[in-house]
Symmetry: C2
Subunit: 200 residues, 2 copies
């Protein structure tokens, strides 16, 4: 893997793990894939560009074939539109890839493997992992390296106890006084890091 | 209209103005209604709730029947899900309402009228209107009243010259060093106001 300065890992506990879910029902029968689609666009898109310094893992744990993780490389992505449906279609295509031996590639910059949160954390430098959590320290009151940081977020279910155990040594950081959806948290984190980059 | 402390006006220059657009093609034949749908959810939704103190106007200027404006009242809304498709369906339903005489109501908290940006600005207290613009003053460097503020945003086309003329006396504020999509700007503005509320 090439260096990416900002990494986001989002866990979808009920997210479908086969590529046959209906794009018309991402919140329902696809197990809240809509949440993951919004997190992707929040992580990668600026007004007219893709954030090339960003990497995202979606960890999908729903039926019928969990676990699967899809890695999106900002440095390589060719297409990512802001709408939820076309982003859901990218996830759908990624889930059709054979991921039995290492990573399968569905499209430039999109890689699927059989992995859960523990597996992904083992693949990265865990020293800089931040758990985004509403009871964490305010993001404006901590020291972050805008060029080297990894953020873990839960879906509408948050993170489960055994997943939180994996992050017991990680900083817990919140994005402000109001509890927000995962994609909105990503937007605010990027804004904070953009400001830090300007100052550094 | 009841008091709302935070107001957002988003202009969709090509957004469809009849309720027969396809939900499967909001970025295309619906004229970027997807942008407006995302702005709505960014404006109203927190993790498990609707922001009751928020009001949104969507100004739709596309074919076949412009202009139309749809007002969403956080204090009254019963349902708003985070996914783009169901939010698009609310807009679609609102555009089917007869708006020839005053406002038509498609659902509790959702009102449609024949109005463009100028009309909407005339209906509100224009003294506190802020134009969100990438060349504005940083939102962290201005004084905002978190209990009384109105923000105007353009879609992917920004605002046109004659619309900008309407805002010639308004503050121009930016959300940070990187130019972002309208919905991401709304998320950051809310975060800033949430923090101000905490301090005030």
């Amino acid at each position: 893997m090439q260096a990416a300065t900002r990494q986001f890992i989002i866990v979808g506990h009920r997210a479908a793990t086969s590529g046959d879910f209906p794009l018309n029902d991402m919140p329902g029968s696809a197990g809240r894939i809509d949440i993951l689609a919004r997190c992707l666009t929040a992580a990668f898109l600026t007004s007219f560009s893709i954030r090339r310094d960003t990497r995202v893992w979606l960890v999908l744990l729903g039926e019928p074939d969990p676990p699967k993780s899809v890695r999106f490389e900002g440095s390589q992505l060719k297409y990512l539109n802001p709408d939820e449906r076309s982003t859901g279609a990218l996830i759908k295509k990624a889930l059709k890839v054979d991921a039995h031996e290492g990573e399968g590639c569905s499209m430039r910059g999109i890689y699927t493997q059989r992995a859960n949160l523990r597996d992904i954390l083992q693949q990265i430098d865990a020293s800089d992992v931040v758990y985004l959590h509403e009871e964490g320290v305010d993001v404006r009151e901590v020291t972050l390296d805008p060029h080297h940081a990894t953020f873990v977020l839960g879906d509408h279910l948050g993170l489960l106890d055994d997943e939180e155990d994996l992050l017991s040594h990680s900083k817990r950081i919140s994005v402000g006084p109001v509890k927000l959806h995962a994609d909105h948290c990503i937007t605010i984190v990027h804004n904070e890091l953009d400001r830090l980059c300007l100052r550094s």
